[in-house]
């Protein structure tokens, strides 16, 4: 009958006034924003490694420029607007790295840094920071660079290249402006996989990108729905036109240019992609269609970036159209 406890003094850590009052749930999956960002960064390393192998260590200069621009802007703007410091969550670093991977190998580091500033400043900070941006910040940065320095952004004759083969026009450029029959080797599948072709730093080797993609999907960071729908869309639309006698084979569409890189690393950006799987399928197919249209009928050799930016703009409408049916409700 005796009070078995005596007093609360036997409970040093959870004594009165020391209890934590928090809403349920009291356990957590344990993942954090920072962890996701750094894991994506890690998934990008194979691409970077291949780039260094093919283009030489000089490619690190524009990459570093973009990262410095992005992280520096994040830090400065946080300071200026008296918001909590968010450099540590890795998102600005990732944006910078992504941007660095999608400029030509010999791109000016200073201009890359400007791209980083634009990516974070106009792509993210004006919307209120991480999680609010409508567009993929890295692509905003790149679109800005593409429009600002059209010559620099299409100059593949990099001085840093170790192999001659890589300091050439991109396969897509050859297809659009050159005579593809004169460069059959550049259009071969195994070279597209290995990446010893002309192109932006991170996008040349399909194999390295796929490895990164496997990492992202296996860790369940990226939605495979977006990647698969975009690839399926590319194969479908590219294939249809190919059958109709327009354009190269669908496999070439998928492996060349920024298609894979866009599918794995750009379109899967959480913030600027749809919430639901159904929406993600529409999103991926839409990007694929736009890309193929721009590649085949537009004035530019490559259109992945524009396609993703335009699809980003449509995400609110897609989200609205694909709102999940509430459990038990009738459609």
């Amino acid at each position: 009958m005796a009070n078995p406890s005596g007093t609360g003094s036997e409970l040093p850590a959870v004594s009165e006034g020391n209890l934590h009052l928090v809403t349920s749930p009291h356990v957590h999956f344990g993942w954090s924003t920072a962890r996701i960002m750094w894991l994506v960064t890690a998934a990008l390393l194979p691409c970077l490694a291949v780039a260094v192998y093919h283009f030489g260590p000089g490619v690190l200069a524009p990459v570093a420029g973009a990262i410095v621009g992005a992280v520096g802007t994040e830090w400065v703007l946080n300071r200026a607007s008296r918001r909590p410091d968010t450099v540590g969550d890795g998102s600005a670093f990732l944006t910078g790295l992504l941007l660095g991977m999608i400029v030509p190998p010999g791109f000016s580091p200073v201009h890359a840094a400007l791209g980083g500033v634009v990516a974070i400043g106009l792509g993210k900070a004006v919307f209120g920071g991480l999680g609010h941006n409508t567009f993929n910040p890295a692509l905003v940065g790149r679109a800005f660079l593409q429009a600002s320095f059209p010559a620099g952004m299409t100059d593949w004759s990099t001085a840093v290249a170790r192999v001659d083969a890589v300091s050439r026009a991109t396969p897509l450029g050859l297809l659009k402006f050159g005579d593809p029959s004169q460069f059959p080797a550049d259009l071969a599948t195994e070279r597209l996989l290995a990446g010893n072709i002309g192109g932006c730093i991170g996008e040349t080797s399909a194999a390295a990108i796929l490895l990164g993609g496997v990492i992202l999907v296996a860790t369940r960071i990226a939605s495979w729905h977006i990647i698969v729908s975009m690839l399926a869309g590319g194969a479908l639309f590219g294939g249809l036109f190919h059958l109709a006698g327009v354009g190269p084979s669908p496999l070439f569409h998928l492996l060349s240019g920024g298609f894979l890189f866009g599918a794995v690393f750009m379109a899967t950006d959480y913030v600027s992609s749809p919430l639901t799987h159904r929406g993600q399928w529409i999103f991926g197919l839409g990007i694929a269609l736009l890309t193929i249209m721009i590649r085949l009928f537009g004035g530019l050799p490559e259109g992945v970036m524009y396609a993703i930016l335009l699809a980003n703009a449509a995400v609110p409408l897609i989200n609205r159209a694909t709102r999940p049916t509430i459990y038990g409700a009738k459609r």
Binding site: A147, S148, F149, P150
Partner: protein, 217 residues
């Protein structure tokens, strides 16, 4: 609008406080379209100011004669007349500028600033005030356009009023003279303008609180 402002205030309000571009967001189409260079901004601004001033004067003079129901239509006819005058004059005197401003000279006719001032101010005030108001608004418009054009010209071409101002190594950001650059620059300009005003408001609020606190003791 019950209180009469001083002539100075009437003039100055268009420059900053009620700046037609930055505050009232009027006349955005020419603002964005023609500001690829500072000189274009000046040209467009002055052309608009001329139309605005003449139309305001005319409408103010006629304000008691025009019946209410057809006033908008009459205003438009008056404005269109002056726009045609400007258009023809510029074609004759400044053919180059007229070319670079293109359709946006005749489009002054649909510039909301002009109709807006006609409706909100000139049709309710005497000719003197109407002219002051129109001049203020017109110069505010011109100043905004010139600033925007200047920024875009410097960054997008390395020049200001045609004079090279950026160092030789500078690679111009072509995007600045493209449509996207116009939107982005104006967006940031609006942000900076608002930031200034917010600072001002916050300071006023702090002062008011201090005053309230002082009185409370």
């Amino acid at each position: 609008m019950s209180k009469q402002m001083t002539i100075n205030a009437e003039f100055a309000k268009g420059l900053w406080e009620h700046n037609p571009v930055l505050r009232q967001l009027l006349g955005m189409c020419p603002t964005l379209a023609v500001t690829t260079s500072a000189i274009n901004g000046v040209g467009m601004g002055l052309a608009t100011t001329f139309v605005l001033t003449c139309a305001s004067l005319m409408i103010s003079l006629l304000r008691k004669l025009i019946p209410g129901q057809v006033r908008i239509a009459s205003f438009i006819v008056v404005i269109a007349t002056f726009v045609t005058i400007v258009d023809l004059t510029m074609k004759a005197q400044f053919p180059e500028m007229s070319k670079s401003l293109g359709a946006f000279i005749p489009l002054i006719v649909v510039n909301c600033i002009i109709l807006g001032r006609a409706e909100a101010f000139a049709s309710k005030n005497n000719p003197g005030r109407a002219i002051i108001d129109a001049l203020g608004m017109g110069l505010g418009f011109t100043a905004s356009l010139t600033t925007l054009g200047g920024i875009r010209e410097v960054l997008g071409n390395g020049t200001l009023f045609g004079v090279q101002v950026m160092p030789h190594q500078y690679v111009p950001w072509i995007v600045m003279i493209l449509p996207a650059g116009a939107f982005l620059t104006l967006g940031l300009m609006l942000g900076i303008y608002n930031k200034f005003n917010h600072r001002h408001e916050e300071a006023a609020l702090r002062a008011a609180r201090l005053a309230a606190a002082a009185k409370g003791v």
